[in-house]
């Protein structure tokens, strides 16, 4: 009755989600920007005539021009080149930290939700502790303790994010666990591992994927915040937040030094948020085509 003709060949969940995503304009816009950013991350340094550390004392504080599309900074470095090179820090660190927190937090949450009882109580109390320290405070403290650097920042950010993912997955698992198809699998004498892998994870993972996508966006803002106060990525590298902090001293006269990095951040975050929004809709299994 409903779309039977489509069912005759096997469609994986993955291809269904892709099909739905393709129909969502916002998500596609986000995806295109994400791909562009990825290209920049991979090939950025070959795309501009200047390297990110090339200093030109003859061309300090130049306004945007043909030679320097987005102008130069206090040391005569080309801002566009620095922005393009800087994309990698924001992106790699953010993606890395999100994966770290999602894996650790996800495992914690899944165990707490599935087994319940004492395990759940312990994990929940741990999360209570976690939740009562604001994320940015914890993140800053950790990044001071770990010192500056790409991996240390990733770790600091990653640890900060664990709580959120644990909570999401725990709630999801609790909800999925209540469904009768879990009982049906148990009636067919499926073991715990089978139930977790085949039923609980596929059904509980969607919100995690969505918040991972969104998490990359907020991660980028967090990295920029750290960079802005001189933490996180080493300050000599053209991290977007650090560039903002740089430009701040001169923004009265040279507003482009603040505008350009800010726009980069917003664009990137926007791309991930748009894509995440679309993904949330596309991942709903009960959505009619």
């Amino acid at each position: 009755m409903k779309k039977e003709e489509k069912s005759e060949k096997r469609r994986s969940q993955f291809s269904i989600v892709l099909e739905r995503l393709a129909r969502n304009k916002g998500a596609m816009a986000g995806l295109i920007i994400m791909i562009l950013i990825l290209i920049v991350v991979l090939f950025g340094e070959h795309m501009t005539p200047y390297s990110y550390f090339h200093q030109d004392y003859m061309a300090m504080f130049e306004f945007p021009s043909k030679d320097h599309l987005l102008g130069t900074d206090s040391l005569g470095r080309d801002i566009l080149s620095r922005l393009l090179y800087g994309a990698r820090f924001s992106l790699i660190v953010s993606v890395g930290s999100v994966i770290f927190s999602a894996v650790i937090g996800g495992i914690l949450g899944a165990i707490a939700g599935y087994y319940g009882g004492v395990v759940d109580t312990v994990v929940m109390r741990f999360l209570d502790v976690y939740q009562s320290i604001p994320g940015l405070v914890l993140c800053m403290a950790l990044s001071v303790v770990f010192g500056s650097g790409v991996y240390t920042t990733m770790l600091a950010l990653g640890i900060t994010g664990i709580g959120g993912y644990a909570r999401i997955l725990r709630a999801q698992v609790l909800q999925v666990k209540g469904n009768e198809y879990i009982e049906a699998a148990r009636a067919a004498k499926a073991g715990d591992l089978h139930i977790i892998l085949k039923h609980i994870i596929p059904n509980a993972i969607s919100p995690v994927i969505v918040s991972m996508t969104m998490g990359v966006g907020s991660g980028i803002i967090a990295i920029a915040s750290l960079g802005f106060v001189g933490l996180g990525i080493p300050t000599h590298l053209p991290e977007w937040g650090a560039m903002l902090s740089d430009g701040r001293s001169y923004m009265g006269t040279y507003p482009y030094m603040v505008l350009a990095p800010g726009c980069c951040i917003i664009l990137t975050v926007l791309a991930f948020n748009l894509f995440g929004d679309g993904l949330r809709d596309a991942l709903d299994p009960r959505l009619k085509d």
Partner: protein
């Protein structure tokens, strides 16, 4: 209900203790030499020993923790390693600025965001809805500290209408409040829109319509209250997070709040300063969550039952099935 609130507040004590242990552990094992940082590289061995003894750094991890907790029991947050100023005094002096900023920004967020979200939902798919959604998407993707810089650029540097530094007059708070508040309002508007849409589709709204109620009255009597319930959580969470001071905003506008203090403590790994602030934050956070729950019970009568049952549910989890 009262018993429940007392229980919840007492529960904050172990949580806060755990927070202290957690943060202390992170900071203690940081690879820095605090004495040399405070006294300079050329300090004598004796001066260093004195510094360490004065600050309890010679007692080791556990010793230091016990001393700190003991002092805390007497309401003593200790003194800063570097300035020797009492942490509790500093917090008390700085708290009003942060509280002011937090409350103003959250209020701003709710006042702008809630009506906007509800309006967008009641006009779903109209230009108003699309515009609201586009704007809120944009504002939630924007770093608040960047927006603060833009505001400074426009209103301080260009038009010279508002001061960019200081904390005396109301004018000093306009830009900090707006820069955070707009971000908060964007998040609240999206939440309010989603929950309002759900309420609008609910059966009891159709029922109200079937009674012959006017659309405007349906919105004010039935939709508003139910639609704003999830917003309370968002606003409360935001308020709690902001008690730590919006670190960067306080920095940009040189507001002497908790945020700048906490940041200076973190940057120099000043254990008493950080622990003092974090303890206060954790308590505030807990209190605000309890407050949010209390507000819930006023807005939504079902919550009274749910909250009390929830506290009872823990018993079930512990007890398991009686066999």
């Amino acid at each position: 209900m009262g018993k429940y609130i007392v229980k919840r507040i007492l529960w904050l004590i172990p949580i806060t203790l755990l927070v202290i242990v957690f943060v202390y552990t992170i900071l203690f094992f940081a690879p820095v030499d605090r004495a040399r940082a405070a006294l300079g590289m050329g300090a004598s061995e004796q001066a260093i020993a004195e510094f360490n003894e004065k600050n309890g750094l010679d007692k080791g991890y556990l010793g230091g923790l016990i001393i700190y907790l003991k002092n805390l029991l007497h309401g003593d947050f200790g003194v800063s390693y570097y300035t020797s100023v009492s942490v509790s005094k500093q917090i008390l002096v700085r708290l009003p600025y942060t509280v002011k900023l937090a409350i103003l920004a959250t209020t701003f967020g709710v006042v702008i965001g809630l009506p906007l979200g509800i309006l967008a939902a009641t006009h779903q798919n109209s230009w108003l809805d699309s515009l609201t959604m586009a704007l809120t998407m944009f504002f939630s993707a924007m770093p608040t500290f960047w927006f603060a810089l833009i505001l400074v650029m426009i209103f301080s540097l260009h038009f010279r209408w508002l001061p960019s530094v200081g904390y005396e007059s109301w004018k000093n708070y306009v830009m900090p409040v707006v820069s955070i508040g707009l971000h908060v309002s964007a998040i609240i508007a999206r939440q309010a829109r989603a929950s309002t849409l759900e309420v609008i589709r609910s059966d009891y709204v159709t029922t109200a319509r079937a009674k012959g109620q006017k659309e405007s009255k349906i919105i004010s009597d039935h939709v508003l209250r139910n639609g704003s319930i999830p917003v309370i959580t968002v606003a409360g969470g935001n308020l709690a997070a902001m008690m730590g001071g919006a670190l960067l905003i306080e920095q940009i506008f040189t507001i002497p709040g908790i945020g700048t203090y906490l940041f200076s403590g973190i940057a120099s790994l000043d254990i008493p300063v950080v622990l003092g602030c974090v303890t206060m934050l954790s308590v505030f956070h807990g209190l605000i969550i309890v407050l949010v729950d209390i507000i819930y019970t006023f807005v939504d009568p079902r919550m009274k039952v749910a909250i009390i049952q929830n506290s009872a549910k823990k018993k079930i989890l512990r007890g398991g099935e009686t066999t």
